[in-house]
Symmetry: C3
Subunit: 348 residues, 3 copies
């Protein structure tokens, strides 16, 4: 089931350096490949592995081509070309339409005949499941949910009632989309639940990681834009809006009613407070603590990186006196100014 | 299916300003409502939207009534009144008793005839499921679990054996209650699992968010008090006790054997270490790092808010020298004192 | 169903102090036990409860034996002995082989006759399930998964296709093993998914907590070593390698391609960036922010512990001026040096 380098090059629109009749059937690393593998050199740090590679072929940039000991595909963006090649070598299996006998599909649901409803899945009344959608085992598609064509619920995904999923979505196990957001009014010491009547709406080409949650809106919708990619264990609060192609790494949380722009990247375990505005092309580093709006594009960070515990202990106790230190420093500056003036003719 | 303002006012015990025969059928925002909607003005920041609202009616405080362009319900706590009205306009559908044919209910389980066991659910031996309980699709009710009346397992909730759930609980998809806590004894380099024989016990009116976990106790029980509200992705370790009406936002973790008082609020992504005591009415801001007990009521915080990456880099390297800075500052103060004494007559 | 102290002592290889015919049937705390309980004194902080205990027997160290009011088992490691005794008193119920009628097992899967496949479970083609494995209700065992003997999927565990689980694993509800890792190539503003063709491989005696995720490798495998214990809500990115007997507490995240050594302990809510190397016997305290490699054994920490909000506000604003403060302190030191030189004969 291999494919020749010349076929790959044609489909990817790139040039070949070396023999074009080499056949590859899977992807591999520079160091771990055999002759059936296509590998790649993206990062200059790995260039030392290039000379020893036993891969059948390699994707790399023009500047590295002379050092390649095997046939090469030349690309200005080797990682992208490699990803596209990998999708050809390792295609998603096509979806076979049908409903597994153990699945429960409500008679008032509409399932496209080309869609697959897997074992132990549940599809409730009023749901609409589009062409070639894959509803994996144990998934729950609530009432009036819509799932656009070619979307894939890997397994055990929960879509609460009214959720809208666009085309080509990839939803991983444990994802929960559209649960009631966390909204309460206070009645004395008690909390009174505020009904959440908005929906969760996912655009096209959205990916939602394992055990990630996207809450439905309180009144209007929670909106996840086209091309948004969310890693595992992410919390998206109610009424949040996320712009196109923004990506977030695992364990991040976005509190309710915050709006995030397009093309942002948010590294792991970041926390964003509620009711904020984050502009386009804003990037947060890992564990950032975001307590105000950031409109301007740029890179933002916070936190204290880990150090030896003894060193940390010594320094962290001083943090509580930082304001006092700043005041003392200022006063000391003034005293030194005064001393200098009295002494006369300082700062030569 | 609308309701007149006069009916609403009667049921909520509030006054009407303007026409009382207006009919509303759903809730809406100030800016997004049409004449079928009831809206509200809570926060003064939104007052500018009041004049333009096209809602059928609005809930607001007496002081804002004159500015309302539509009939109004007058309340000292508009958000609470609005929430109560919303619960009338958007009622939870009543539970129809029965067991879906695809559900698996052990013959040694007792299910009240008014309870619903949904598709693909599992109810194991010895479980007791009370009146009007809703066990949503794919939920697992372990052996000897008890679920009090009117509780709702939305979908795919897991209650491990022996778990006790009070009345009117709301448990969201992916919640895991009563798994064995994380307890091990060390045997050389190996870990020996300590059996966890306590239970997880939830009071009445408890809410547990999506993909949130409450571990069972090691020997005695993990106890979640009445009215506690937990958002998504929260970890409650074994033996934790949480007092009544305490609320926690998403991604927070409470380590084993910590006790938390009543009426606390814990913002998102907070981490609380184990074996601590947190008093009543203690409030932590988001991402707080709680490493000691806090008995006194109050507001507590930690963390460094995000800033431009260049600014952060410049400052964060200094943190490692904070202790050194403090010592140098002190010594410098002493030297300036000495210089001043020698110079004579400073600090006029 | 009790067991005599003499039987316990024989099986555990420890000495008895006091009557050996006492019978115990369950474990209890020092303060909460009755005569049917075995309890223990590990931590000196609890010694004050020893005199009042009503337990049937107690496990403790030689030095505490004289203070025990009840028969005792003497151990150099009382907690370990207690854990081993607890495993005798509260044994895991033996697995009865079979397949629940509601389970869906593909005809091309091989299930050992001594293994149990629970209600609503799914076992896909090519899976191999070893002797005495317990596949709990609602679990999903993907295509070509291997599960070693005596492993236990408590309930609703998802093993994505190709995942390998060793012997005696304990996998808690909501765990997701082997989902596609978070890997994309950038194509202009769009993200192109990189196929993830590695597997997730778990060694023997591994434990995976509730709602914890272990992603499959991008090209090679994600590897969890023998004896690794992961608490709830942990994210393990693709290509991560974790050495034997390393333990992690809840809410921690390990980013892709990081390697972690043996016998490490990582406290809760720690975040470890990608492509790092963490050595053996490295210990991180809770909420540590790990942005560089730590090869040397030791204890590492970061973060600012919570304090009163007013105090925090006062100090945290100064953090943004820390670099400026350090510069001013340095300059001030130089000026004081200069003043002192001019004044002559300082620093006696």
């Amino acid at each position: 089931m291999g494919i020749t380098l010349s076929d790959l090059a044609t489909r990817l629109g790139v040039q070949i350096r070396g023999r074009s009749d080499v056949e590859v059937s899977r992807i591999g690393t520079l160091a771990g490949s055999d002759s059936s593998c296509l590998t790649f050199l993206g990062d200059a740090r790995h260039r030392r592995h290039l000379g020893q590679t036993r891969a059948g072929a390699v994707v790399l940039a023009e500047r590295d081509a002379d050092a390649a000991p095997v046939p090469a595909l030349i690309s200005e963006n080797p990682y992208l070309t490699f990803a596209l090649a990998a999708r050809i070598l390792h295609p998603e299996p096509p979806v076979t339409g049908g409903v597994h006998p153990s699945a429960v599909v409500d008679s008032a649901a509409r399932v496209d005949p080309t869609a697959w409803i897997g074992p132990q899945a549940v599809v409730e009344a009023g749901a609409w499941i589009g062409p070639r959608v894959f509803v994996g085992p144990g998934s729950i598609v609530g009432a009036n949910v819509r799932i656009g064509e070619d979307s894939r619920l890997v397994a055990r995904v929960t879509l609460c009632d009214g959720t809208v999923v666009g085309k080509r979505a990839l939803l991983h196990p444990g994802a929960v989309i559209g649960r009631d957001g966390f909204g309460f009014a206070r009645d004395g010491e008690c909390w009174v639940r505020m009904p959440q009547v908005g929906r969760a709406r996912l655009g096209d080409d959205v990916e939602i990681g394992a055990n990630t949650s996207v809450d439905r809106g309180a009144i209007e919708d929670t909106v996840i834009g086209d091309g948004v990619k969310l890693d595992n264990h992410i919390q998206i609060g109610h009424n949040v809006q996320i712009g196109e192609n923004t990506a977030m790494a695992a364990n991040t949380g976005i509190s309710g009613s915050t709006r995030i722009g397009r093309n942002c990247t948010i590294a792991g375990a970041t926390g964003v407070a509620g009711h904020l505005e984050i502009g386009d092309n804003v990037h947060f580093s890992g564990m950032a603590m975001v307590t105000r709006s950031f409109i301007e594009p740029g890179y933002y960070s916070s936190g204290i990186p880990a150090m030896a515990n003894s060193e940390w202990r010594r320094n962290v106790v001083r943090f509580r006196h930082l304001d006092d230190m700043a005041r003392r420093l200022k006063r000391l500056g003034e005293r030194v100014d005064q001393l200098a003036r009295r002494q006369g003719g300082e700062d030569d």
